[in-house]
């Protein structure tokens, strides 16, 4: 293994490019799925709304302007191969990521959304205390670094509830319906969208994996556990049977895809979280190799067998 350090400048350039791709370019898996949904939607208003969304994506890419003025809360996910070395270490990598957020906010431009929760102070660069969030995971062997940015809003469409084992699949379905039907009204959740569900873990784990399921898995991806995969399909169908489409108008397009992630949890509980991604799935991913090559891709490839492992290994 080469152990050639990845330059900090390359991290900065890659992260800055990801910031603009996430804000402007809609991932191909999502765009295709939305086109397919538009062709199946029979309600006039819902159909018009979806077609307007698709027009908007084209304009965003042609004009190189953000597809939405609420450019969300930019955040980063970093997956490092075990052999990867970064020039200056991971403190330098984090510095580069934070700098890319400030640069992207000014240049693209993004809306400076991040403010102090009480004073409402805005640094005008989307940086602040614990902002952006940067999450790290690791993979055996590789000498590369994967960078993923997600620009998600966050006001509506997310909820958490402590369910219990006795509540079973019924409880899961009810909470799913509750969340979809409440936040779907008037389109507050910015549907249709990829819906992520976290099941189990501690409260924080439950929220994290549910959000990652929404934001870091592509349309069409299924959970490797057949039981979980079956529930993913059931919840997707359930959501689309509510009869609610984009903006809360009558329609059958609410859930573009449903992804569930599970974590081992307390024996007495079955916590559940639900996350609606923004209706444009603003994510962008790239792998930086130790030889300096950078590969951009739509699929974050975040959930690996290793990441979902059960045992010691």
């Amino acid at each position: 293994m080469s152990r050639k350090p990845i330059p900090q400048q390359l991290v900065l350039e890659t992260a800055t490019e990801l910031m603009s791709r996430a804000a402007i370019d809609i991932p191909s898996d999502y765009k295709q799925a939305l086109r397919a949904a538009a062709s199946k939607e029979t309600e006039d208003l819902s159909c018009f709304v979806i077609k307007t969304m698709l027009d908007n994506y084209d304009v965003a890419e042609e004009d190189r302007r953000p597809m939405c003025a609420d450019t969300g809360l930019p955040r980063f996910y970093v997956k490092a191969g075990n052999e990867a070395v970064v020039e200056g270490g991971f403190v330098a990598l984090e510095h580069a990521i934070r700098e890319s957020v400030a640069i992207g906010t000014q240049q693209i431009p993004l809306r400076p959304n991040r403010v102090h929760p009480l004073s409402r102070k805005d640094n005008n660069n989307n940086l602040g205390i614990h902002a952006p969030e940067i999450e790290y995971t690791f993979e055996p062997d590789g000498d590369w670094i994967d960078l993923v940015t997600v620009h998600k809003g966050g006001l509506f469409g997310t909820d958490y509830r402590m369910l219990f084992p006795g509540d079973g699949i019924d409880g899961i379905k009810r909470f799913f319906l509750d969340t979809m039907a409440s936040f779907g009204r008037r389109g507050l959740a910015c549907q249709p969208a990829i819906i992520g569900v976290g099941l189990g873990g501690n409260k924080d784990t439950c929220m994290r994996i549910g959000k990652e399921a929404a934001c870091l898995r592509t349309v069409g991806d299924v959970n490797p556990d057949p039981e979980v995969a079956k529930l993913e399909q059931e919840l997707k169908d359930l959501g689309n049977n509510i009869g609610m489409g984009p903006m809360g108008f009558e329609g059958k397009t609410l859930v573009v895809d449903c992804h569930i992630e599970v974590a081992y949890t307390h024996t007495g509980g079955m916590p559940m979280s639900i996350h609606s991604f923004c209706h444009s799935s603003r994510r962008a991913a790239a792998r930086i190799h130790s030889d300096g090559r950078v590969e951009f891709r739509d699929d974050p490839q975040w959930f690996t067998d290793f990441y979902r492992r059960e045992g010691i290994e």
Binding site: Y57, A69, D70, T71, L110, R120, M162, R185, G243, G248
Partner: protein, 243 residues
């Protein structure tokens, strides 16, 4: 493609044009529009500050939005994308705002409660237009030809400043309220509600309830307007781009 009725209007809009709008019409606007949301409403309607311009003579279309704008090298501003923000939060200011501003069209996200339409919009002959899809920011951004002016940028920041935009066929927007104050959103909600209970059939309720949990599935989660004032501090770009 769906059968939508498209209407193109000049701003300032005439009362006659506004009165002709039908619920569900798709509208494009040309002329001058401005942004005002809680930051502006609080200053004018609660702190009693004078409007920085005679808004009546400039425009009668108020957009509930915050642009993704940044200072440019010419000392002006570039507007990238434009997206509405959820209007239900501003309901408590609308009555007085109509009196002060003479607005005839409010553009925003998600509409307002029917009560607000009946009590406040109808007497003022005003209508509500919703943005479409909510994320159509690039399309709307393209409709903005230039920033004519911006007020209260230093005090309120980019998101809450009062932006005056020159627009050319900005849209699409959908007309929410009819002349009597009925809402398109509510009409569709009622249709959804009619089928909703059936989906819950056979699903047993969870063991642990939530304190104060709503029991009607026809309820909306949007409630009374917030009563806590929002303080805005130092929300101003400190440097202009030199290049």
């Amino acid at each position: 493609m769906s059968k939508m009725n498209v209407v193109k209007l000049q701003v300032p809009v005439s009362q006659e044009d506004v009165d002709k709008l039908e619920q569900g019409d798709v509208v494009y606007l040309t002329g001058t529009i401005y942004t005002a949301r809680e930051g502006v409403y609080k200053k004018v309607l609660e702190s009693g500050e004078e409007l920085p311009v005679d808004i009546r003579s400039i425009s009668n279309v108020n957009f509930h939005c915050s642009p993704a704008a940044s200072p440019n090298a010419q000392g002006g501003y570039d507007v990238g994308a434009v997206t509405a923000t959820a209007s239900f939060r501003f309901g408590k200011w609308m009555k007085n705002w109509f009196e002060v501003s003479g607005a005839k069209i409010i553009i925003g996200k998600g509409g307002m409660p029917e009560q607000a339409y009946r009590d406040v919009f109808v007497p003022n002959g005003a209508r509500y237009l919703s943005t479409v899809g909510y994320g159509a920011g690039a399309l709307l951004g393209r409709g903005i030809k230039r920033v004519k002016d911006v007020h209260w940028l230093a005090e309120n920041g980019i998101a809450q400043a009062m932006w005056i935009f020159e627009v050319d066929e900005i849209g699409p927007f959908i007309v929410d309220n009819d002349r009597e104050g009925n809402s398109l959103f509510v009409k569709h909600e009622n249709a959804v509600n009619a089928k909703l209970e059936k989906l819950y059939e056979g699903l047993k309720p969870p063991a642990l309830k939530r304190y104060g949990e709503t029991t009607s599935r026809a309820d909306e989660v949007i409630g009374e307007p917030d009563t806590q004032p929002i303080r805005i501090v130092n929300a101003m770009p400190t440097e202009r781009s030199k290049d």
